[in-house]
């Protein structure tokens, strides 16, 4: 493209830059300042108040455990889906559509869906009753059953959030020519070796971005938890919400926000380091 009007691209990106500066960078700085100041003076009061809160440790632990439990399972299911769908011809489109439906479902709705299944008189208990495993309605979502509640939330998150990982993985797989796998097969590589030695290394960029996206989203988990367990299962974003809306304490809410951001950024950096993408080693 000719270079005689070099200002054109700047005019084109300017509106979005201005918008993001105003509504992304400014609030970002505001959040950081809000969390690290008290009445306009730099202070760690908010951070101390956050750390001293009864729910702080629990919410931190819960959020991390949930992320650790959910993300690997989502990745495994997504890889299985991608591999399976690569083996079929007809019906592929329909199956992919069904698998992507949860992509359009909000975490709140996902929480409500699993509430219908896991509530006391719900379908899960009905199934267990029908199989003779339980004799009366059992509660899974109360604070007396933290493990069951944790599993319920994890299942709901896996149900909803796998779709996005699957879409990114399948998009990545679509870009790997099948000749590579065929060549490996001709030289005697079995399915397992082909998957680990050929497919997986070639979809590194997809793996990387799926993991980053999914992990950041997992640290943001909130409404699915709220729909299933109410306040019984504190998580970081939920605490931020409560400090903001219930306690009207914007400073501590901001401190939680900064903590979530730091954790998200740290996870991103870890992924960027752990899964190195070298463009020269990709097709």
């Amino acid at each position: 493209m000719s270079q005689n009007r070099p200002w054109i691209p700047y005019v084109l990106i300017l509106p979005s830059v201005a918008f993001l500066a105003l509504l992304f960078l400014v609030p970002l700085v505001q959040t950081i300042w809000l969390s690290m100041s008290d009445n306009g003076v730099p202070s760690l009061a908010n951070a101390q108040r956050m750390a001293g809160d009864l729910n702080f440790t629990r919410s931190l632990k819960n959020t991390f455990l949930l992320t650790l439990a959910v993300v690997p399972v989502q990745l495994a299911i997504a890889l299985a889906m991608g591999t399976m769908v690569g083996k079929i011809g007809r019906g592929r489109e329909t199956i992919l559509w069904i698998w992507t439906i949860p992509l359009g479902i909000s975490d709140l709705a996902a929480g409500l869906v699993w509430l219908a299944i896991l509530q006391n008189s719900g379908y899960f208990n009905s199934l267990l009753y029908g199989l003779g495993i339980i004799e009366r309605q059992t509660s899974w979502l109360s604070y007396q059953t933290p493990v069951a509640l944790f599993l319920a939330i994890a299942v709901a998150e896996i149900w909803r959030g796998t779709a996005i990982v699957m879409v990114i993985i399948v998009a990545g797989l679509n870009q790997v020519p099948k000749e590579f796998r065929e060549a490996a097969e001709i030289f005697g590589a079995g399915p397992w070796v082909r998957f680990w030695r050929i497919t997986l290394p070639l979809i590194r960029p997809a793996l990387q971005s799926a993991l980053i996206l999914r992990t950041v989203l997992a640290f943001e988990v909130f409404s699915v938890v709220y729909a299933l367990g109410g306040r019984n299962f504190p998580v970081l974003v939920g605490e931020a919400y409560n400090w903001q809306n219930q306690n009207q304490n914007y400073g501590v809410a901001a401190a939680y926000a900064v903590l979530i951001m730091v954790v998200s950024l740290a996870a991103t950096v870890v992924y960027l380091r752990a899964i190195k993408v070298d463009p020269e080693r990709l097709p």
């Binding site: 509106p15 359009g104 729909a227």
Partner: protein
């Protein structure tokens, strides 16, 4: 060279393996679909349905009535419309601001391009909705607090980076030569964009718009923080959650799911292309 053929050669794919494959696929399909079916049963089952015990997976005692009753509950229609409004603003803004940026990224190389891409990618590493927290104060000052426009603005922060990256890929898919041909045959740059690039990019742009819609429609946190009376549907459901009866919650869940599912169906052809692009 060994003389034995690989046992898994597609032509001689053993039927037991086929069976295993299709069972796996069917199980995963059921895993996605059955919960939606069950929440729909809950939404149409009404108060009695909730306490029915033990339940069967057959639709017994369902009618449209409980769902309509839910829709007539005060605040539901209003919040539904608010959600549509916020999503509409998000779609319009993210395309209007994002598509030109996507075009610039696709067609020009200019100093600062990498910086811009970094800004856009940086947003991905942040839990963006959280940034609604400090905005409460400035939005109150600007009169944007508790308005659909305010929610639309913060949702655009979520959708805009996505729109810029995805439209970049879409515009890269329109061969540059077509645009150059338009120039040579008498178009100005703007005419070439309007007559050649936009018509060819239209399906992809429409898909981007749908994604922006879904992003806004599903967002809970920022909408809940920034509204009090003019709630979006998600914010409304979240705040009344604790007080509402079970079947209302299920009806609300279904109402949230339906539009998104329809939209995802509408853009299913572009899903993988778009994520193929935006995951680079």
């Amino acid at each position: 060279m060994t003389t034995t053929l690989p046992k898994t050669a597609p032509a001689s794919f053993p039927s037991s393996r086929r069976l295993l494959l299709w069972s796996g696929i069917a199980a995963l399909c059921a895993w996605v679909l059955v919960p939606i079916y069950l929440v729909a049963l809950g939404a149409f089952g009404g108060r009695q349905g909730v306490y029915l015990w033990p339940k069967t997976v057959l639709p017994t005692g369902v009618s449209i009535e409980p769902f309509l009753l839910f829709l007539r509950t005060e605040g539901v229609v209003g919040s539904f419309l608010n959600s549509l409004g916020a999503a509409g603003i998000t779609v319009a803004l993210s395309i209007l601001l994002g598509a030109p940026a996507g075009y610039a990224l696709a067609r020009y190389s200019f100093p600062g391009k990498d910086g811009y891409r970094l800004l856009v990618l940086l947003t991905r590493a942040f839990p963006l909705a959280i940034l609604a927290l400090p905005l409460t104060v400035s939005f109150i000052k600007l009169g944007l607090y508790d308005t659909v426009v305010g929610v639309g603005l913060i949702h655009t922060v979520l959708a805009l980076p996505f729109a810029a990256l995805v439209t970049q890929g879409i515009f890269l898919g329109v061969p540059r030569e077509l645009e150059e041909a338009a120039w040579v045959f008498g178009c100005t740059r703007l005419q070439a964009v309007l007559r050649v690039v936009v018509p060819l990019a239209m399906p992809g742009l429409a898909a981007t718009a749908v994604f922006a819609f879904v992003i806004s429609w599903n967002e809970v946190f920022a909408a809940s923080v920034l509204t009090v009376r003019n709630r979006t549907l998600t914010a409304y459901l979240l705040t009344v959650l604790a007080e509402s009866p079970m079947h209302y919650r299920f009806a609300g869940g279904l109402l949230l799911i339906l539009p998104s599912v329809v939209f995802i169906f509408a853009v299913r052809r572009y899903l993988f292309a778009i994520w193929g692009i935006s995951s680079k």
